[in-house]
Amino acid sequence: MADARLDAIARGCRVQIIRMLTHAGSGHPGGSLSVIDLLVAIAFGRLRHDPRRPDWPERDRIVLSKGHAVPALYCVMAKAGYFSEDALITLRKLGSPLQGHPDRVALAGIEAATGSLGQGLSVSLGLALGAKLAGLPSRVYCILGDGEIQEGQVWEAAMSAPKLGRPDHPVDNLTVVVDYNKIQLDDFVTKVLDLEPVVSKWQAFGWPVIEIDGHDMAQIGKALDQAEATKGTPTLVVAHTVKGKGVSFMENNPEWHGKAPRPAEAVAAIREILGVTEAAWDGYLETDKAAAAIVSELRALDKT
């Protein structure tokens, strides 16, 4: 798929992320907006899957280890056809399969329960090894948060990965992406517990590492290609991203790690994501009925 088309899908997903979090009244916009380009590039650029058969054994798998960014994954799944986009606004509501963090049992298409940080890489190693043992062509994509790699289990997994399954079943069917948005819940990562030097740490653990701009579809695509072509070992992609990407008042602001926008803020955010000036906004909404419907739905929330 052309990069411009992927950008357009990502833009639509950003709107849905803002929409669903505002309906929920809680959740994590910053990390959802930083990871969405990566998820879109994987899911619409290359993932072998079938939304009608989420249990297809040969499917590729995405493990969103930074589970708090699951709104981004839900948007991608809805866009791909796993469920209706209307269901997105049930996020975090009682009885919804769209749990606040991924629940594999509740929602078909979720590969592992995550959100308790640090566990997804180990599960991904098992998925990749299991696919190899079963002779399946599946590829596994694991997405880690930057703050998440402060967890010790990540480094247990990192240490085990390059040799796992060798010689007959190396887990070179695994691509791991770090969404390096430089901010965690409490503050900037450098202030809480600095990760640097990230690249040489993973290299020292035996991983080939590719460093990219995680919002540039061309760079993401190239890195994912390179990872897929690498034999004998899994590959790590360090994706430099901007927390809250696409919404000026959320970008690079730790305040927006785990806080939902109010309806008025959400409308302003959506306008920015769609690249429309304030002056042109009312006129734009007359031409984009889908956006207009979301905006009026959000404005109605203010009155309830």
């Binding site: 329960a113 599960v123 190693l125 299991g130 247990e156 240490m159």
Partner: protein, 308 residues
């Protein structure tokens, strides 16, 4: 049948089952010579994964393997496994991954290595998780049947195994059934419910009590979760007094589970035999005497309880 540790019977059963079922794989954290999966690793080298001293990663990898169709046995000392409770909680239980978690070296019976290596809180931890049955076999025959059952059971399961040899206790025609206990000796004055390494001692205690004119019913509770509520209720109604005997903390273990059920469903006087303090180094026999898990200790506690 000579006495055999349940970890040894487990290792033998895995090789037998592994030959018939290639889905079975083992994962270890540098203790395969102790958990007795080393034999499986030697027989099926491509299906045994030693992850080094990194239990969390081992448990997570097991979950991923389960989700791609393997039947993984993730093995270590019980205390080290539940030390990684959060990984068991999310990657295995909540994910509903078909992982068989195997905790060995349970109880003060491991002896000289002391408390840091003793699984004494593992049942309490795992029992709090929805969706994870807990099974503790009491001899070789039962262990082999339980391991076969673990392979067939779809979903997570916790298997609790001993380091020490276990005397044969199950009747010749024994067949393990999930959620069911086995009445080993009928009695009328008191119900003794034991599991794993304490079952033989409970039977011995019952023989001693008989001499004192006390008729003790002895039950082997291999299934700790779920309880065999039917047998528990029937026996408690018959004898009117229940004693649980386990090499585990009295908080949250078999005794805890029985206490919860009885107090809600059929209030019955209860005495729990188990640990209330940290374990310590010593020879296993002396430790069992000290903690009151030997036949004399169990008989003494029962007699005192009945005299109350």
């Amino acid at each position: 049948m000579p006495a055999k540790a349940s970890r040894v019977a487990f290792g033998e059963a895995l090789i037998e089952l592994g030959a018939k079922d290639e889905r079975i794989v083992t994962l270890d954290a540098d203790l395969s010579k102790s958990t007795m999966t080393a034999g499986f690793a030697k027989t099926f080298p491509g299906r045994a994964f030693n992850l080094g001293i990194a239990e969390s990663n081992m448990i997570g990898i097991a979950a991923g393997l389960a989700l791609t169709g393997r039947v993984p046995f993730a093995c270590s000392f019980a205390c080290f496994l539940v030390g990684r409770f959060e990984t068991i909680r999310i990657s295995v239980a909540y994910t509903n991954a078909n992982v068989k978690i195997v905790g060995t070296h349970v109880g003060v019976a491991i002896g000289e290595d002391g408390y840091s290596q003793m699984g004494l809180e593992d049942i309490a931890c795992i029992r709090a998780l929805p969706n994870v049955p807990i099974v503790q076999p009491a001899d070789e025959v039962e262990t082999k049947q339980v391991v076969a059952y673990a392979v067939e059971h779809q979903g997570p399961l916790y298997l609790r195994l001993t380091r020490q040899n276990l005397e044969s206790v199950c009747p010749p025609d024994y067949q393990f059934r999930p959620g069911r206990w086995c009445l080993l000796r009928p009695g009328t004055d008191i119900t003794l419910i034991a599991s794993g390494g304490t079952v033989f001692n409970a039977l011995e205690a019952a023989r001693r009590l008989e001499v004192e004119g006390i008729s003790a019913e002895v039950i082997n509770a291999a299934s700790i979760k779920p309880l065999d509520e039917e047998m528990l209720g029937r026996s408690a109604a018959k004898t009117g007094r229940v004693v649980t005997v386990e090499d585990h903390s009295i908080a949250g273990g078999l005794g805890g589970a029985v206490a919860e059920w009885l107090s809600e469903e059929r209030p019955t006087p209860l005495k729990r035999i188990g640990t209330t303090a940290f374990g310590e180094s010593g020879d296993p026999r002396s430790l069992y005497a000290k903690f009151g898990f030997d036949p004399a200790g169990i008989a003494r506690t029962v007699a005192k309880f009945l005299a109350r």
